[in-house]
Amino acid sequence: MPGVKFMISFSIVIPVYSGDDYLETLAVEIEAYRQKLDEVNAPFRLREVVFVDDESIDNSREIIADLVKKYNYFLRIQLSRNYGQHSATMAGILHSSGDWVVTMDEDLQHHPKFITELFGAVVKNESDIVYGRPSEGAHQSKLRDLGSKYTKKVVSGLSGSRHITNASSFRLIRGSIARAASSMAGHDTYFDVALGWFTQRVSALQLPLKDTRYIENQKSGYNFKSLASHSRRMMFSGQIKALRYGALFGVILAMFALLASAYIFISRAFGYTDFAIRGWTSTMVAIMFLGGVIVFLLGIILEYISTLVQRAHGKPVFFIVDRDSDSQLREFFENQS
């Protein structure tokens, strides 16, 4: 609200699947960071940490239960089955109250100390969403890092969601947008695509992030199958530009067919060319024209389906956002520099 100053709150949401080696250290780091924000009198304060137990496969559940007893601002959400990282993140966001929401991994790949820098990027880029991106290959595996990079580029091109190239699970999101996207998204909607329906103010910040778990053990929460599923959801949640390319191809083909038909017909009618096979002219004209029309109509039908699919995924007509409190962040970072 204009002219009103109040402390900006933020929540951290952490989906947990197999984090028992990291959770206690992560909690200590979060607490240290929370205290530091108090010490420097930052205008943004950590008010809650939501751990979402996504039917974890190790001792994470017990560890989270202990942490919740120890830290009164920690909250545990227990999912009824394993729904995957994005669904778990959305469940956590829908249980958060912060003006801003930070989503991060359980394995300290995303250190809490970087959150201040993410807030700095909000001010610098006037963003609603800031992704924390690894400045170098996070997995220290060329195949894995390049695979991830180019998959996102291809999907971004095909889906029309430009910000997907920067997407990562370390995000700082304006709370209202995070909750709106989480409440609209269907079970197969890719969360970062859904976020793009609510804002175009998306930026990324290069940070020294390392996936230590993968580097040390070659273990990751994702296998090839889940990565493929990720890419599929990413593409089908978006606008599916490929369909438009298909429709355009149909139009070009139909026009070419018309021109070619005209040429063949005129050639035959006025005797410029004598085709040896009887009926070739009419057959070719019919095939080319009908083929073009069919591809074009198919493109239109797919475009309609794409619109309906996006509606089913929850794409809104409009959304309202309040950015007035950003001036407090700006003031803080200007005084810091």
Binding site: R47, N72, S96, S97, S176, A180, S183, M184, D322
Partner: protein, 315 residues
């Protein structure tokens, strides 16, 4: 106002108990329904007139006399649970609208003292339906250490009522104060909250006016959860002096409620937002503030149940 009784079916069970239930709005009716489901019986109905304290006192004394008469058949001493779910004015009402409610509540506390003097009554328990939304309006992350800081007459009156119970000699050791967050559910003819109004308007195709913002956070709690909890407390009570937050612990934005209702009704909602600084303040509760025994219906399930009730009522 209703007088209800519960007779133990087994000789090993508790003695006979009575409930004097005041208020048959959304919450009062849910408590009443929960008690009926738990085996309580309605003994008498009484008229309650807000603006006539004399008449109220007469009716209260009549209920006590009826209680003694009914109980004398069993020749046992009994407990009475006075359950206050009544409220004359609404959340946005001005100060003057709470005069009658304040006087009626004070009169009821005096009646508790009077009932205690009746020979056949062993204990008087006072159950008070307060309001978490009224006491903590505009506060986020509310927990047990948060201080009530009402912003409008509704909240101030609820806080005054709580303090009266906590300081009164008769009720101070036997009160149970319930602080529900934003309740939702459906009752034909009663006040309709945000959820019911939106469902009704979705079904009718009418425009809804929302006094708040699209991103305003509230903590929604399904009405049957309140009724079941109060009923459980009446049935199990041994000591009083407790305050319970009846909240879900899950902040929910207006936008989430709207998408939930559109999804469940398969209808488009037409919304007009009336957003001001006062009505767009967030209100959320930490899980640590909640009673561990409070069973919470998830929002989607509660909205679905409300929708079914509205549909079966042929709106």
């Amino acid at each position: 106002m209703k007088l209800m009784s519960y007779s133990a079916a087994s000789e090993f069970a508790d003695k006979k108990k009575f409930v004097l239930l005041l208020g048959m709005g959304l919450i009062g009716y849910s408590v009443y329904s929960a008690l009926l489901r738990a085996g309580w019986q309605t003994e008498k109905d009484y008229t309650f007139l807000w603006d006539n304290i004399g008449f109220q006192s007469k009716q209260l004394k009549q209920s006590l006399s009826d209680l003694v008469s009914i109980n004398s058949k069993d020749r046992t001493r009994t407990d009475i649970h006075i359950v206050w779910c009544a409220g004359k004015a609404g959340f946005s009402s001005p100060n003057s609208a709470f005069e009658d409610e304040g006087k009626s509540f004070s009169n009821l506390v005096d009646f508790a003292e009077f009932a205690k003097s009746e020979a056949s009554i062993e204990s008087v328990y006072f159950h008070h339906m307060s309001s978490a939304g009224g006491l903590y309006e505009g506060q986020s992350f509310v927990d047990l250490s948060s201080k009530p800081a009402p912003l409008r007459p509704y909240g101030f009156e609820k806080l005054r009522q709580e303090k009266l119970l906590q300081s009164n000699q008769t009720t101070k050791g036997t009160y149970m104060i319930y602080r529900p967050s934003s309740i939702y559910g459906f009752q034909n003819g009663g006040r309709t909250g945000l959820v019911s109004t939106l469902i009704l308007n979705a079904l009718k195709g009418d425009v809804s006016r929302i006094f708040g913002g699209i991103n305003t956070l509230r903590d929604f709690i399904y009405i049957e959860d309140i009724g079941n909890f109060v009923c459980a407390k009446i049935n199990e009570i041994s000591i009083g002096g407790s305050v319970f937050f009846l909240a879900s612990g899950k902040p929910t934005s207006t936008y989430e409620v709207i998408s939930n209702i559109e999804y469940l009704t398969h209808k488009k909602l037409y919304i007009q937002y009336e957003t001001t600084l006062e009505n767009a303040l967030n209100n959320s509760f930490r899980n640590s503030s909640l009673s561990g025994l409070f069973a919470i219906t998830p929002l989607g399930t509660g909205v679905k149940k409300t929708l079914e009730k509205i549909r079966s009522n042929k709106y």
